[in-house]
Symmetry: C2
Subunit: 178 residues, 2 copies
């Protein structure tokens, strides 16, 4: 607690690794007081998650998440902002159709946050989608996804079982507004 | 939506990059139906965040987060699980003392979740700390941190301003329980 939060400037940036969905760079920064720090930064496209519900159910997905060794993690429908020229809301609409086969009449922005700002620039946008109907067109046949319709009246139980960051933010935000 | 969520086994793992706080590996997995997939996985120590409040205030920190270019991000007191042999609750107690100079009589586990299970194994533990008193001993002089005491009665406004994942989960969970 010696020093206050401060402005900083980036002195340099070095790409340490480049993958298909993520890359790592090591950047050097100088703070106002002259101190220089190095930061490992995992860079990614942002992501969008959608809280979609009607009077009875919240629509969720279960899918394998290999990085954490879980075969059926329960999550909000979501996807990466990886389509050129597509904004966050459009991505949310596309993912809702592809993952659970629904369109929504009403869209509301709930939150935008950084998932882990200490080491990553990943930003997550969370929307509320209501006025649901069956979406026209194709769902994405490549995705290994189960749809789960969860009773809205058991929202607290869902929150207690949920272990995915973006889904917790969305469901807890829904809970705050109900 | 062609296939259901499924068990999988890891076929191989290759370290792509090793840094000081993070490393990246590229793993191959085989699903039950025979399909093989490759995943880029950012591996980190887990983290702990603490919702600490008394009758009047929630105690937060502001600090520079270079990866996202923000000089004064508002967050819960938090830290990495990077001390050998220290469990999540002990880390929470240490960080509360180091970052805001407080000890707490009552500790309650609020949530444990994965911050971004699509690409990272980072797990975050969130605790509620009440019955606060001034902590004995030293705060961490190296940390570039401002303490901010936020009125508990303005919790909704805090949630609306907050843009940090772990802090949103903790504050929204507090809101659900109040």
């Amino acid at each position: 607690m010696a020093s206050v939060s401060s402005e900083f400037e980036r002195l340099g940036s070095e790409t340490a690794w480049e993958g298909k969905i993520a890359s790592v760079r090591v950047d050097r920064f100088r703070h106002e007081d002259g101190e220089e720090v190095e930061r490992e930064i995992v860079s990614l496209h942002g992501a969008v998650a959608v809280v979609a519900h009607d009077d009875e159910c919240i629509y969720l997905v279960r899918q394998p998440r290999e990085p954490i060794g879980v075969p059926d993690l329960l999550e909000l429908p979501a996807g990466k902002l990886d389509q050129e020229g597509e904004d966050a809301l459009e991505t949310g609409k596309r993912e809702l159709a592809e993952e659970i086969g629904k369109a929504a009449e009403h869209w509301e922005h709930l939150q935008t946050y950084w998932s882990s700002p200490g080491f990553s620039d990943e930003e997550v946008h969370v929307y509320l989608a209501t006025g649901l109907s069956d979406a026209e067109g194709e769902t994405d046949e490549d995705e290994r996804i189960d749809i789960e319709a969860w009773p809205l009246e058991r929202l607290d139980e869902l929150i207690e079982q949920c272990a995915d960051g973006k889904s917790l933010v969305g469901l807890l935000e829904l809970r705050r507004r109900l």
